[in-house]
């Protein structure tokens, strides 16, 4: 059985999208199960990679809209629509997918990519995983009320354990 978040990452891989997995799904795959149902990916923000990502989103039958009235399949947009804003919360046939072009608290995609770890899901789908220190940096960059404190404490504990 292909489990659904696997299919999102597999489709991104098939379309050669350069991305780093972050957020709850990354924490779940690296450390502990947490309640999350969206897949968060930070894509390399180049025109070529955005084009590949747009193709992957079409393959996943993704839906998105600038407004509610505009919500619908992304296949109707002209190429280059991922330039519109910094983050997109899409719905795909495989589940909810958040695409980030920039991530608060993290500077360069390339630096984070060099620190990222190549991991794979239980069924063997490979992905680049944001490292623990960068996961923590993301949390610290959030307003305090928005931080996932369980995750922060866990990651801080790893640092203290050396």
């Amino acid at each position: 059985m292909t489990v659904v978040p696997d299919s999102i990452m597999a489709t991104m891989n098939t379309h050669q999208v350069e991305y780093i997995l972050l957020g709850g799904m990354n924490f779940l795959l690296r450390h502990q199960p947490v309640l999350t149902y969206d897949v968060d990916v930070w894509i390399q923000d180049t025109p070529e990679n955005r084009t590949r990502c747009e193709q992957a989103l079409i393959a996943m039958e993704a839906e998105w809209g600038k407004t509610d009235t505009d919500w619908g399949p992304v296949s109707r947009f002209q190429p280059g629509w991922l330039e519109l804003q910094g983050v997109f919360a899409c719905a795909t046939k495989y589940g909810a997918l958040d695409i980030f072009r920039t991530v608060k608290g993290l500077d360069s995609w390339e630096c984070c990519r060099s620190r990222a770890e190549v991991c794979s899901t239980a069924s063997g789908t490979a992905f680049q995983s944001l490292c623990d220190a960068d996961m923590l940096a993301c949390q610290y960059a959030l307003e305090e009320s928005l931080r996932k404190m369980d995750r922060v404490r866990y990651l801080e504990g790893l640092n203290h354990d050396g």
Partner: protein
């Protein structure tokens, strides 16, 4: 608008535009996925004992 605001607005917009059935399916699939990543199912006796050990450890802090 801050980055946090945009993230929140984007998530809220998606929530409004997917059906309750899809949302439920996404959650079910995510739970099944999370379970599949573990070497032992959460309902396995050893998993339950490990979970209990963690809970007891956390209680010990409150009782001291």
């Amino acid at each position: 608008m801050t980055d946090d605001d945009l993230c929140a607005l984007e998530t809220e917009k998606r929530e409004r535009n997917i059906s309750a059935l899809d949302r439920w399916r996404f959650i079910q699939d995510a739970i099944a996925f999370a379970d599949a990543q573990q070497q032992r199912s959460r309902n396995h006796p050893l998993s339950c004992m490990e979970h209990e050990r963690v809970l007891l450890e956390s209680l010990r802090g409150h009782q001291d």
